[in-house]
Amino acid sequence: MSSTLAGWMQALALVGALALCYRPLGDYIARILTTPRHLRAERGIYKVIGVDGDADQRWPVYLRSVLAFSAVSVLFLYGLIRLQGYLLLNLGVPQMAGHQAWNTAISFVANTNWQSYGGESAMGHLVQMAGLAVQNFVSAAVGIAVVAALIRGFTRNRTDRLGNFWVDLVRINLRLLLPISIVFALVLAASGVIQNFHGFHEVTNLAGDVQKIPGGPVASQEVIKLLGTNGGGFFNANSAHPFENPNGFSNLVEVFLLLVIPFALPRTFGRMVGDNRQGYAIVAVMGLFWVASTALLTFAESQHSGSALQAAGAAMEGKEQRFGIAASGLFAASTTLTSTGAVNSFHDSFTPFGGGITVFNMMLGEIAPGGTGSGLYGMLVLAIVAVFVAGLMVGRTPEYLGKKLGGREMKFASLYILTTPTIVLVGTGVAMALPGERAGMLNSGAHGFSEVLYAFTSAANNNGSAFGGITVNTDWYDTALGLAMIFGRLLPIVFVLALAGSLAQQQPVPATPGTLPTHKPLFVGLLSGVILIVVGLTYFPALALGPIAEGLTS
């Protein structure tokens, strides 16, 4: 079978698997988020943490719970990393510097998983599993909880209650993430991903070299790294490492895991608002962007432009032989469109346009399909903007799902959309203006600029992948990117919950012949157009200086 045909079949198999999961998984998540019944284990947990599982929260209280949970998580993780030397299973790794531990703690709490350290040389097993992997679970759950609150803003009327954050958090972890993780951790372990508590194990190779083979509870962490769209590798090489991703089968399982929840959530949305067609419209937009991006990126990589790649005859620098171009392109497009940031090949060595597409994917704001929960709330905010734009065209107050989009709602939506680009562009600008920080680039010229632009785009959009050449383990980058991650995560959440609170208080207006139908192809086109215009206008100058300049000159 030719490589091209195999690549297409692989993508088709993935789409088929995701399509099969869309209804059952989406419906299941909707049930988790709406049922009044608690499991016995959950009641026990509510008792321990001291919350009333049946008490709904107003939006400021819901927000306060999210913020408190994030703050406590950052402090706990920071402490765990800094005290690693006194903990079990620390493998004797050196003490991590304060700025790097701070950056790492924020990174995992913010669902970003930007890593300025290399896993095998900086983290012991206990911190990986009880610190980092726990945040992989709970930060994903926070994203889903926030989108649940936003959907309740649409479905509830004349109330100030949006649900209970602690109930959402516990249920999403116990009923959704944990069961899927157990099953797929075993699938990955069966295909060769390691799962043990060994330290480095010395062997003498066939030709006499001494090699240190690493150990660790990798399969259990690998699953949630992908399922929760986190992306923080157990090892420095992330999902390119053979112990994280040993073959073509495990690779497709991993891509499936990172897409499955974000692509099923539109069904949850449709189900909860009582009109499945609304979910289909949203998933259609997500799917369009995903398909276009995957096809373009794989095509760009197969053309291997760039002087060094031309000389090699294929864009195999930074790619594994067992994956090749197609499986690397599929992974790269999916990981940058979902805020995951795990990599099975290194984007810094991609062709200029291929690398440019990975940056562009993140600039879309991680909405196609985006992170767990965060993808859908980002998309719904853009849907609100699209409905508003359509309303302006015909000169009537727009409404979406029976809720009027007035000044207050649009203010929150606009703030949401402005936050991330501000962080990305200001951060990149400041870094480029400082000579010391400019020196962090590995490559020079347009490609070096792309490294810095990629870093801030990745941090502010909570993706976490990198053009890895850049040296970011410095006081300045750890601090600046840490701020980009935490503001890029929490400010949008503030605006989404405020928006949800405002929507929930409204009395719904009945649909009239003048109402824009938001489940038809027309709306799919309108929303896609709005996304492209918003992103294009915001980022075109920056893209032109980096990947586009490099692509056109090579």
């Binding site: 602690w166 070299d209 083979i213 060094a308 790649l309 930074g318 499986a327 090949s345 060595s349 200029p352």
Partner: protein, 211 residues
């Protein structure tokens, strides 16, 4: 009695308790459960797919290794390792000084990087001379470093290219080595996932067992 704590402070205590409970479930019980089952059901794979030759552990079938000549002066860090012509050679590696499994990683050099261009051209000349083939025929995987730096695989084309050299060095018939390469060529899982590959560690281990 003192006044009850303000709500904002109480929320943080709730958050701390929630985090601790979830850490016990997700950070301790869950990985222990998965480790327990994996160690019973797939212990060989869960422990790193270790390869043995003559009863001794020689590496992992998933982690590539160097097949170099011994250094003339083992204490000289500047001396460049030379490939041993008796073995099938792996891809170039950016992990440490080459296939250092305690330091995985890629070169991260850009598509137009001068350094990468020079490295690719140098490798093409060196590999062609080493294998005695036309420089234009050397496949891309022989000229580029993998993402992990630990790639255990090479392309079937690169393996075939090395057959004549290895056969000559070992005094083995080339036909036999071609068959060996075919036997260690892994087709795509399910016929269409990933890419075709020859596992150099397993191929060389089989080679070392040929008499």
């Amino acid at each position: 009695m003192s006044k009850p704590l303000p709500a904002a402070v109480r929320t943080h205590f709730t958050a701390l308790r929630a985090l601790l409970v979830l850490t016990v479930i997700l950070g301790v019980a869950y990985p222990l459960l998965v480790t327990g089952i994996s160690q019973v059901a797939f212990s060989e794979k869960a422990n790193g797919s270790i390869v043995k030759a003559d009863g001794k552990e020689v590496g992992s079938s998933l982690i590539g290794q160097n097949f170099n000549l011994p250094k003339k002066n083992p204490d000289d860090p500047k001396e460049e390792a030379q490939p041993d012509p008796k073995w099938f050679q792996p891809r170039p590696s950016a992990a440490g000084t080459g296939y250092d499994a305690s330091s995985s990683g890629a070169s991260n050099q850009g598509p137009n990087s001068e350094d990468l261009l020079k490295a690719v051209n140098d490798r093409r000349a060196a590999v062609a001379a080493f294998d005695g083939v036309d420089p234009a025929s050397v496949p891309a995987d022989a000229l580029t470093a993998s993402g992990s730096g630990l790639d255990p695989d090479i392309s079937p084309a690169y393996a075939k290219e090395q057959v004549n050299r290895v056969a000559k060095e070992r005094g083995l018939p080339a036909d036999m080595l071609n068959q060996l390469v075919d036997r260690y060529t892994e087709s795509r899982p399910l016929g269409f996932l990933g890419n075709e590959a020859v596992n150099v560690v397993l191929l060389n281990k089989a080679l070392s067992e040929q008499k």
